[in-house]
Symmetry: D2
Subunit: 346 residues, 4 copies
């Protein structure tokens, strides 16, 4: 059985794991105040080109999204997000559990536009009953999106300018940030992305770490007292150095970017396997998640040897599914899939 | 200026006010434990035909919706509601402020169907990631809806049976309950409605009271400890008798129903004024809220002498607006509107 | 039976009620935007000597405390309060329900001191684990306190200066404000009190109104977006004018102060009744609440004809209880109590 | 520099780490549904002697306490705890952030008694205003306590019987459970402890794991839907097997108990070092945390080479501090401390 279900099937990249093993019996103080967290922060700041950014390490995506969003909003405010956004769909109401509505905007490809944000804010402002309607307080996007798609530099610039114009902090969920930045056709560098939002996070769990997400706060107005919020939400790891060590390793010699590129390249092969065999795609994703539409009969056969994630029913006999590559995907795994798909066509 | 903006423009029906004045200097204990609350509860139980229902008095609709919903849901659950539902649109995120998502179902006329509920629950149950998705924990509907429409007995029966089948308590927001029950074509009595849900409230604020909503809990499983929740939410009036007195008056000699019928009849005249003059309606409402679509130019003229609520833009030159009748609407007010609309056509 | 249990046993002062009756059938827009709320706001601003204060009307004390406190604190902050404070003891955890800890300071007479606040903040700041401890975010006091006691001008000035020094907004719960300001020995005027805090409220429920509390925000930094918070918390009355009308009446011709003074004078007689008959007092209260310590046997006799509130057990045979006077207390009621206590001694 | 500050200074026990390394590139599904979590659960159930217990793995203590407590309480309820309890003192208000008050009971040694619980519940029930006071909804204790002390079997039995009598679930925070169970004089086995509460957790972070806590729910009434709550609170690790692997290793060949006993023995040496040199102790702790009272001057000298945690000021020239041993503490480290303390006395 070979699993392409998601990008968190294996442990950590060997260089990351090696760091944990080598330092295992060292004594360091807790809660992210150790030297490894400091060097990791320095490397991340350098990679982002934001020397004065605040960098905090958390364990997982849901706790990161919740902590960041709860740190920004006032009680009567909500977060604008694509209806397909992770915070809206797959966090069991974590955002709402902090008291805030996720205000959803429609989308077909996982992205929202500057215009949608502007129209929503204008509509709210001009409604006679605006005081009775949740106020938009910030904007959440993911890069790449849940559909594997990417904002262009021009789209993100427009969105951020709109956010600035309306005083709405822009937060980018980068659970798969590396896979986005290294994708074919991606026209954003990490320093550019860092300039086009107020806070974002660099996903480690899905890109080479055992676990861990690095929150980068570039807007000084959002920096105050993030740490007590982190603690309150159970999102401050006692042995914080485990996070520092991992991000230090990932941001040494461009490891993060190299392994992300590897995953994208594996994904392009997966895409090609399906497309060249005539399968349409649910989304046009240039990143590590690929979404072929497959007849249910063939899916049943594939499923005997390959793991995938069921995405949505397309029609009575076809399903859209997700195949993920990751930093850990091997050429052998992809080749096996190629053979299997080819066999379906014989 | 004559206002048809909403149904809470005036104070209270004279019989209600008279009760408050007459008893003003009596001493009663607080928080709803006085004799007037008791008699009001008895009359409401009798009117509902549910001798063992729990009846609680709150001040306003938002606090009632929030308190009831927060009393039912566990933290990982949300409330299913029409996307147009008051709890979703016009309570500044009150439900989310208690930690719960409003799970929205699409609607054109303000109503949701048994099938929509069943499909949502089935979809949730069968999704591989169901643990990552807010659980449906109850269903909220309004009667009449925010579009002035009504569930038929058959529709409500189907919805309630679905709720029972899935273990989802059904809560009916009756902010305008009287206007619904007394509408032409309404095929539900109060006792029937009380049998077809787990908890509902009888709106007083919009139907003859200065303020006040009477929550009726018929499902024994939902009765426990409603009062401390009420207190916690700031929804337990110190001089609780003010609520008891008002509902006692409203449920004496069918006053509640008589004044609601009066409002509906005024509304039918309003509807006829617009329809007979060729204005289409946004919703086909048999209750006290009427929604004509009016050319913006004519609306500007009408607006000089009549208050209405802006509902939504229909096209570049037409708007959908709301005209409300209430227990307090007079024939003279409606006649003045008739003259004004007629004049637009000359 | 004559009740001295509390100060919300009757309806409203006749002048207040008369205003409601007289204006009953007028049409006004809702949610506190009507002309009566405006004139009431103007009168309150004038009485406070703060021409640019924001004034908001809410229905009851718990919802007022909750809304004000939730409007000020960030999620990781708590409110410093006397352990006997209403927000800590008697609101069923309303503050905690908004996510905030009530950080309690010990007290014997209901008051807290500038020094206690300073020591707490310094302790927190200097603790190695300060990020793991709820941050003090504001200070709550009541005037008069739950023990009927009053801060002197000098005490309040010291407390406020400490709050200013540490950047902690000071909120005064004035549920019984009138009874405090008009007490013998009170050395604070309303304008002085308004200068010595950031936000406070003027209690109406217990001082002549049917219901209602007027929040006065003097610190500009706390003014933003109070109204959507009010709405979210179910604390924005639909027929807002009911609150405006009542406060307009109370702040016309010093009615609020005159009826408060009357209550205090009745309370002094009650105090004298007990003291002159040899009963010690639990607290030395100069306001409308009096706390005699009474042998249980005598209490049982008194209780046959007089209502009081049980406060606490003093020893095996004595109880501390509360007798309240209010704007509605009559000389006849007090005389009856005098007779009854005297009779106990025969 | 040798650190005795806390018990989470190092990484993981070698056997634990070895398991992570060896399985690193295996593919497993996420969120705790992998085979390693299953075997770990089986071993924990066996060790507890509760074959049908539910076992869930979380990352850290604060998120565990918050998730468990939020899963049990209804909104108007609070959790009874010692005033020194971790949930009250050192979680930045995490419990309150879920809407619940921590109801504190006084303590000198970190423990609370059956009698205290009973008295609180009786007081609440019998208070006239009980509906205005947060309801006790469960009891939280820690074993060992924050003072290093232990409940005896007789004390815990009495406490649990009281909890049963009042319908209050009892939750034991076992962040340092191993150090408690293996202490000299401890008269509770793991299976006995599991029978004397409704839910508890086995701390891994402080006892040999990189991170991780195993929640054991023995009361069937508390089992329902813990997983969505975990997800909502950001407490469901994507690569859940990391937790399963660690607990599997810890519960193989009694590793958890053996390393805990080692720590206790190191702690007894630390205790003896101080006691034999005439230092009094702040608490009489039989577990891995020791609390000597040391003159400030000597503390300054010790602090040059040894890390400790400042606990509290005892008087103007003495401080109570904490020295922790852990699974990782070596005889060499303890010997160095012995020399240093001896040197102070020369």
């Amino acid at each position: 059985m070979i699993h392409f279900n998601c990008d968190y099937l294996e442990g950590a990249h060997s260089a990351v794991l090696e760091r944990l093993v080598r330092t295992n019996m060292e004594q360091t103080i807790g809660y992210g105040c150790d030297p490894y967290c400091e060097t990791a922060r320095a490397k991340i700041r350098a990679a982002c080109g934001v020397p004065d950014a605040d960098v905090h390490f958390l364990v997982g995506g849901t706790q990161t999204n919740t902590t960041v969003i709860a740190s920004i909003l006032r009680p009567y405010q909500g977060v604008l997000a694509a209806v397909s956004g992770h915070v809206n769909c797959h966090e069991t109401g974590a955002i709402e559990s902090t008291g805030h509505k996720v205000i959803t905007l429609p989308t077909k490809n996982g992205k929202i536009t500057a215009r949608q944000v502007a129209e929503y804010v204008e509509w709210h402002k001009n409604d006679e009953s605006f005081e009775h309607i949740v106020y938009p307080g910030m904007v959440y996007i993911s890069y790449p999106t849940e559909a594997g798609t990417l904002y262009t530099k021009s789209e993100l610039t427009a969105l951020y300018n709109t956010c600035l114009a309306y005083g709405l902090p822009l937060f980018i969920d980068g659970a798969r940030l590396g896979y986005g930045l290294m994708a074919d056709g991606a026209d954003l560098t990490l320093p550019e992305l860092a300039q086009l939002c107020d806070v974002f996070y660099i996903g480690g769990t899905k890109v080479g770490a055992l676990f861990g997400e690095a929150v980068v706060i570039t807007n000084p107005a959002l920096k105050k007292d993030f740490r007590p919020l982190q603690k309150q939400r159970g999102a401050m790891l006692a042995k914080g150095r485990l996070l520092g060590l991992q991000f230090d390793a990932l941001f040494t010699d461009d490891l993060y970017f190299r392994i992300a590129r590897h995953a994208d390249e594996m994904a392009y092969q997966i895409r090609e396997i399906f497309v060249s065999n005539g399968y349409p795609l649910l989304f046009d994703s240039p990143t590590n998640q690929q979404y072929p539409i497959i007849p249910d009969e063939e899916l049943a056969i594939l499923g005997q040897n390959f793991g995938y994630e069921y995405w949505e029913r397309v029609d009575e006999t076809h399903s859209g599914v997700r195949f993920c590559a990751s930093w850990a995907t091997t050429q052998e795994q992809v080749d096996a899939l190629r053979e299997a798909v080819r066999a379906l066509k014989e």
